[in-house]
């Protein structure tokens, strides 16, 4: 009982510290700070700004649901299939038999680490090794 009480007190203390820390972090906005919404790779080289991808009028409406803008440069899934065709039938992630026109942002993320959705089921070594940009 005593240890349980101690545990509760300690967890409250830790939570308090987290709150304290969180309140001291400066509140960044997309326009004022490029650290929080940093862009890597080719998109950075092309000096893309927020509005290139986010077409919403107001900044607070920005979302990653923007396949249409991705496809203004990346064209369509037929082209994407070709681009990754060299990966072969089992690993051509853009030629999935499961989905048509799946949203890009499930795997490709500009502001946080990207991931490979196919890995939820397809665990072959060659699939695991794919690098998602």
């Amino acid at each position: 009982m005593k240890t349980l009480t101690m545990r509760i007190i300690i967890s409250f203390f830790v939570l308090g510290l987290i709150f304290l820390w969180a309140s001291d972090v400066p509140q960044n906005t997309a326009t004022s700070n490029n650290h929080q919404y940093a862009i890597d790779g080719i998109h950075k080289k092309l000096s893309l700004g927020c509005k290139e991808c986010h077409r919403e009028l107001k900044q607070e409406d920005y979302s990653s649901a923007m396949k249409e803008t991705c496809l203004t440069c990346h064209e369509n899934y037929e082209k994407l299939k070709e681009r990754t065709g060299h990966l072969g039938h089992n690993n051509n992630v853009h030629a999935s038999p499961h989905f048509t026109n799946i949203d890009c942002d499930i795997c490709h993320k500009s502001h946080k680490p990207s991931q490979n959705l196919c890995l939820q089921c397809h665990g072959q070594q060659t699939m695991k090794q794919l690098i998602v940009k």
Partner: protein
């Protein structure tokens, strides 16, 4: 400075503490009523929630009956839900394919198998509808461009009657195309947050969030996801719930069956959370059989999810022998249903430290499509050996009893009788398949959480009951979110039948209601 920070911390503590005190009252929310809707953003004749087998079947069926201004929504960033990654197998007797294979079978036998596995907890009328009306639904799928590729027998079925398209998306995609061609709207990233009721308790629409960003993290509680923009959709003739199961939600499935621990693997896609079912329970929607959540044994212990091994494993159960490497002996009828086999595996696998081995020879392996077998090998779920000794060495098999068991097994296959476990054997291309000819193929089955048998209680026309025993007008449900069809345990390939048959019935029921509302107006 330090003091100031401490004071600040104390203040935040107090705030945090009081918010915890408030939490229980925040949790209890009443149903959302028409008067709570600030403004209807859009108006439809009907809305289908979910885009898997059941949702697409419901949507296309109501459109076939004349409804035009209809909308299908899915919270995910893709269409098809869990169906898009499922095996896409449809159990049905009397099909032209079954006849071509010369199989003697009938709906009564299908009903018997289904009720047996369901321990007679199934609603018998619903099972009857599936077994009989399923043929018409099967042919309807064919007419809508669905092509069946594989024909087999799966666990618990007394005859070969499983028709597979390869993967479930080959059913949902053609249906989606027809929906689009006919002008039906389909939207992804729209999550239903609340049903909206009028003052007579009828469902008249819903509160949703558009541009929803689903988080692909099983440990994340979907109730915490606040992304998206709130909108209100009016649905004049009805709402169809086809939101699927919650076997992929560690917290919610454990609520209903505490034996299902959060760390247990699942075959389900990430979207199979308990978000909707929790809302429905809060809305006093009646549920049945919630404690029955299926664990499926055709997946591999060498893969974390549905994986690639299942095709070889499925064939292995039909044309191979499963044994415990420690004892060298068989321990179950390999072609029994998912529940019996999963329980038998859990009883011997020492919590995942001693996986069973499922062995086929080259003739057994030939019943697996070559690309599926190769993918299984590449994923590390199928092992190939030139000699039995290689296998014995690799898995430390108890050699003498194993060789004795194999001899017995082969004699059972040839006589067609298994006195130990009562297994029946079927011919493939007019031949019984023994295990004699190298190379040998071995899989290690590892059961995973797969399907929710329980769910929303409905009529045979998919009308939804509330806990008061009355029907909720304007609300329909079909597919895995419903209960009553499968009882204690669902047979493999019966889910797609359930989804398509009752999906169509839900679509027809909404169309009927639409017509009767028009007549009244």
């Amino acid at each position: 400075m330090l003091d100031e920070q401490r004071r600040k911390a104390m203040k935040q503590f107090a705030l945090f503490g009081s918010s915890i005190m408030l939490f229980p009252t925040l949790d209890v929310q009443a149903k959302m009523l028409e008067k709570d809707v600030p403004v209807w953003d859009e108006e439809f004749d009907a809305i289908v929630v979910g885009s898997g087998y059941a949702g697409t079947a419901a949507m296309l069926s109501m459109m076939n009956k004349g409804l035009k201004n209809v909308l299908m929504i899915d919270k995910m960033q893709y269409m098809g839900g869990n169906s898009s990654i499922s095996g896409g197998s449809y159990a049905m007797s009397r099909t032209s394919i079954q006849k071509e294979h010369g199989i003697q079978d009938d709906p009564e036998q299908h009903i018997k198998d289904t009720l047996k596995s369901g321990h007679n907890l199934n609603n018998p009328e619903m099972v009857r509808i599936m077994a009989y009306e399923g043929l018409e639904a099967f042919n309807w799928l064919v007419n809508n461009g669905v092509q069946w590729k594989l024909f087999s027998r799966s666990g618990g079925h007394s005859a070969p009657r499983n028709h597979s398209v390869g993967v479930g998306s080959f059913i949902t995609m053609p249906l989606q195309e027809h929906i689009m061609k006919q002008g039906g709207q389909q939207r992804t990233r729209v999550i239903m947050d609340e049903l909206v009721y009028d003052d007579k308790g009828r469902v008249i629409g819903m509160k949703v969030r558009e541009k929803y960003e689903f988080k692909f993290d099983r440990s994340f509680d979907e109730n915490e996801n606040k992304t998206g923009i709130t909108k209100y959709y009016r649905a004049n003739a009805g709402v169809v719930l086809a939101t699927g199961g919650w076997a992929g939600d560690p917290k919610v499935r454990e609520l209903f069956n505490p034996a299902l621990k959060p760390e247990m693997p699942t075959t389900n896609h990430y979207g199979a959370t308990g978000y909707t079912i929790q809302k429905l329970i809060k809305d006093d929607i009646d549920m049945v059989d919630m404690q029955y959540i299926q664990i499926m044994h055709v997946t591999s212990a060498d893969e974390n999810s549905f994986g690639f091994g299942f095709r070889a494993i499925t064939s292995g159960y039909s044309y191979g022998m499963m044994f415990n490497p420690k004892t060298g002996r068989r321990f179950v009828n390999e072609i029994a249903d998912r529940r019996i086999c999963s329980d038998a595996i859990f009883a011997m696998n020492e919590k995942g430290k001693n996986h069973p081995l499922l062995l086929m020879d080259i003739n057994g392996a030939k019943t697996v499509e070559i690309d599926a077998l190769q993918r299984g090998i590449e994923a590390g779920a199928v092992y190939q050996f030139e000699t039995l000794d290689e296998m014995i060495q690799k898995f430390n098999v108890n050699k003498e009893p194993f060789l004795d068991e194999l001899k017995k097994y082969n004699s059972y296959v040839l006589t067609g009788k298994d006195p130990e476990f009562g297994r029946t054997f079927f011919k493939n291309n007019d031949k019984y398949i023994t295990i004699e000819k190298p190379p040998y193929f071995v899989m290690r089955p590892g059961p995973k959480i797969h399907h929710c048998m329980g769910g929303v209680r409905t009529t045979v026309d998919c009308e939804v009951y509330s806990t008061s025993g009355k029907l909720v007008e304007g609300l329909y449900a079909c597919g895995e979110v419903t209960g009553g069809r499968h009882g204690y345990n669902r047979l493999g390939s019966n889910s797609v039948v359930d989804c398509i048959v009752f999906g169509r019935r839900a679509g027809f029921a909404v169309a009927e209601r639409y017509k009767s509302l028009l007549r009244r107006a």
